[in-house]
Amino acid sequence: MADADSTLDQLVALLLRRQGNPVDSIGPDDQLLDLAVDSIDMAYLMSHFERQYDADFADEDFELSRYVTVGDLAKAIDARING
């Protein structure tokens, strides 16, 4: 289990470690497209959380178009992790 802040922190840490990440810091209001996140990144990010929390995300959870900001994505991940 993870709380929403923890999920956000983990997501931000992951995004900052990605090669080619264009910024030094990331906040919940930052837009995923501005961070150059694409569907390939989404495949890895979501699989990371699935593995870490032994969760099973639906196919549509992987769709980048469902999320605008980093905070949106963190909330969605948190909802899946915590049911």
Binding site: L14, R17, R18, Q19, G20, S39, I40, D41, M42, A43, Y44, L45, S47, H48, E50, R51, Q52
Partner: protein
């Protein structure tokens, strides 16, 4: 070049609206190599069903059952050299005369590539379509869509050197009926899949035990996106009319393979070019296991729907076949031994080459 019927020839293009399975991106269903061949065949007048039947081959996870570069209705004729100068005249003469050529450049010499000047890495293919003596024009699934997936590359000595592998395309328009599709695609897939599933499970066991390094993960994504996904997808398209229920099962397995390949590519972005940090790839293991499960379901469906007997356990079975294929790809794609920067062509022999290693 097409052999047989007279057909309308058009300039080759990479067009998502015309292409098989291209929804979100060019690697939906096909590899970069097969997108090139698809483009060449469409330019020769093949329709989508003919392209699918021309390019579909039985699934072969072990990767040693098919003659290199041969398909059921055609072949690719590869010319390989460590130094592209060796066959530059032939290559450019073909392209300039209107024969599109599949080109597998050494990314070390390829302008703007992430591996330029860094690493001899050969895992990507483009379709060379024009040459005017100064600029080589190529269709490239990695090129910007706004440019029509087209690159215009000013030719330099390094570019020439990097054009070390190219192929011409030779296919006959297929005439597959249901019996032929069953005999040459579906039954061989069922037999091979039953044989190979234990070896696939052995890869998962190895991954759980030892982890997966960056080079092995890159080799795996080449196998998955270059061979496994296209084989499943193209077979589904080829048999869709004759065997719709099996086509649906094949598509499901194809999507599982695609998800695995895309997740591996995503992981590379966290791993770096030469990562030995196996923890980066640990999250992908679950996706691999899901793909393995999808292939096991496909195996069951193929045997049930085709009325094939289940294969009895084979005590002499080869559980390392899939892993060996990954290692072959690793050696082929990380090609220091193939294209040393400070040596010339005669000092190295290009090793055994297999289709899947040319099909990212």
């Amino acid at each position: 070049m097409a052999e047989g019927a007279t057909r309308t020839h058009r300039p080759p293009v990479l067009d998502p609206g015309l292409s098989l399975g291209w929804d979100d991106g060019p690697l939906d269903g096909l590899s970069c190599l097969l997108r090139c061949v698809e483009s060449a065949l469409r330019a020769e007048g093949f329709d989508n069903l003919e392209i699918a039947q021309a390019l579909a081959v039985p699934l072969d996870l072990r990767g040693d059952r098919r003659k290199s570069s041969w398909f059921r209705h055609g072949r690719l004729d590869w010319r390989n050299a460590v130094d592209g100068h060796e066959h530059w005249d032939e290559f450019t003469a073909l392209v300039a005369s209107g024969t599109p050529c599949v080109l597998m450049p050494d990314r070390y010499y390829w302008p703007g590539d992430e591996f330029e000047g860094v690493k001899h890495f050969l895992d990507h293919m483009v379709l060379a379509v024009a040459y005017d003596g100064e600029v080589l024009e190529a269709l490239d699934t990695d090129a910007p869509p706004a440019d029509g997936y087209r690159r215009r590359i000013p030719v330099t000595p390094d570019v020439i050197r990097g054009c070390c592998r190219f192929a011409t395309v030779h296919f006959t328009p297929p005439r597959d009926d249901a019996a032929a599709l069953r005999a040459t695609l579906l039954e061989p897939t069922a037999v091979a899949l039953a044989e190979d599933l234990p070896a696939l499970r052995a890869v998962a066991r190895r991954w759980r035990r030892d982890g997966l390094t960056g080079p092995a993960a890159r080799a795996l994504h080449v196998v998955v996106l270059g061979a496994v996904q296209p084989s499943l997808f193209l077979t589904a398209m080829a048999v869709e009319q004759a065997y719709p229920a099996l086509a649906a099962e094949l598509l499901t397995a194809s999507r599982a393979a695609q998800k695995l390949g895309r997740t591996l590519i995503g992981a590379h972005r966290w791993a770096g070019a030469l990562a030995d940090d196996t923890s980066v790839y640990a999250p992908v293991l679950g996706v691999f296991e899901a793909c393995e499960a999808a292939l096991a379901r496909l195996n069951d469906e193929l045997h049930t729907q085709l009325g094939l007997p289940a294969s009895p356990p084979d005590p002499t079975r080869d559980d390392e076949g899939v892993w060996r294929r990954i290692l072959r790809n690793q050696a082929w794609c990380y090609a220091d031994q193939v294209a040393p920067a400070d040596q010339h062509r005669d000092e190295q022999v290009v090793g055994e080459q297999r289709d899947e290693e040319r099909q990212r």
